[in-house]
Symmetry: C2
Subunit: 258 residues, 2 copies
């Protein structure tokens, strides 16, 4: 789910910047806000994960996390993906949904471990994927406690990517995963951590995004969601590599009704 969450949250933060721009005249001349206001996606993307988190922090610091989650939920009711022209909540991967249900039906506990913001994901993942808040692990901003509320600060606390993914799994879960699914080098350490499980047989799967018609194609040279080292390792170590273009009959659930 990595790059997908990342993009959703980027669009959310960009919309918030536009809403709040009149209160921040300085944004017209400072990045990443300047690129957002100019609808310059390339300029925005150059900032990567820290750039996204800077946008999120700037638009939401001082807010308590419950209000933030309500705001995301409200935004999702009407916002649509800029090119697919559908609500973000429609853009779940059908095969991923089926996998989650299959695993849960067989008594596995399923967690989402993504670079996306933990509050952002917790505002829609439970309803969209049937995965509860406490099974959602992500990047997070600094917070502090005040009078019964968790308040968002304007600072990054934890970025859930690459070598920090197994650390986050260790802190949240305290067990090694028996199965790990990824789509980029950012997932590699987590999958390697799963593979090194000595207690149980394990399973690792990479979804290789190869379909530039129905979805988006990226791998070795992508700026965000690069899949290079992990792909080589997976191929050489019997990991399952899914070729999205040729192996996913259906990507999004709405295709089922066509």
């Amino acid at each position: 789910m990595g790059p997908q969450n990342f993009k959703f949250q980027l669009f959310f933060a960009m919309d918030r910047v536009k809403v709040l721009a009149s209160e921040h005249p300085e944004w017209k001349t400072t990045e990443p806000f300047k690129s957002v206001l100019a609808n310059d996606m390339h300029g925005v993307m150059k900032g990567g994960v820290p750039g996204l988190l800077a946008l999120v922090n700037a638009t939401h610091s001082g807010m308590d996390v419950e209000t933030f989650k309500e705001e995301v939920a409200e935004w999702l009711k009407t916002a649509k993906h800029p090119t697919i022209k559908r609500p973000y909540t429609n853009l779940i991967y059908q095969p991923m949904m089926e996998l989650i249900q299959y695993l849960e039906a067989n008594d596995f506990k399923v967690y989402i471990v993504s670079g996306g913001g933990i509050d952002f994901m917790r505002s829609f993942v439970p309803e969209m994927y049937g995965i509860p808040e406490e099974h959602i692990i992500g990047s997070s901003g600094k917070v502090h406690y005040k009078d019964g509320k968790i308040m968002k600060d304007d600072e990054i606390y934890f970025i859930d990517d690459k070598e920090t993914k197994p650390l986050a799994i260790y802190r949240h879960i305290g067990k090694r995963p028996v199965a790990a699914f990824g789509n980029s080098d950012g997932d590699f350490a987590m999958m390697e951590y799963s593979e090194a499980n000595k207690k149980y047989k394990t399973f690792q799967l990479y979804v290789h995004h190869t379909d530039d018609k129905r979805e988006v194609a990226y791998d070795r040279k992508s700026h965000i969601g690069k899949l290079d080292k992990g792909l080589d390792y997976g191929i050489n170590n019997n990991w399952t590599i899914v070729d999205m273009k040729n192996e996913w009959k259906v990507i999004y659930p709405f295709e089922l009704n066509k």
Copy 2:
């Protein structure tokens, strides 16, 4: 469980210091090691939670967390509480056990949120209390990922106490507790966070350790596990206050067999 975990872990770290002392001649003259080697409990306790974590870090940095947990489990097989003269695993509170079982039988998810070390607790709490690793939240040291392993560093990462308890609950669970149970001012913020739940009716309970014969008595003036501000607030706000001496017929399960 706060002070109890704290003490168990302190005894574990003290035993480790004694085992490793021959490799560290400098410990004879530096605190908190000096007090440990002199069996000076008062000197050791003066360091509080940071002192305990310093002991844990010094005796376990460079070790991977799975080996650490095995070492704790091994220690627990033979170690006995210095005054009660029983294995630590016997020193579960019978009423706490019954409460956990009652809540779980009614579909509540039960978490332990303690100042004790997260790895230390995860090595025995699942078997002792039937609470899985992923429902155990605690203090933790810094770690790094290397070649499929989580390695312990010699630095404190997170102390789970007072205002950081609700932060830890927010990060791990992402939901407000509907019920919270504590025994010291260190639990107050967590209980207040639970009480501020607007979505559900809530419940807060303090166990007041009043029994200096069967267990230990502490409250307003205790060095560790102080219960002062929380006791006043609880009394004034209809929280349930349990008087251990007069209301707990049984403290430890082994009393049932007498």
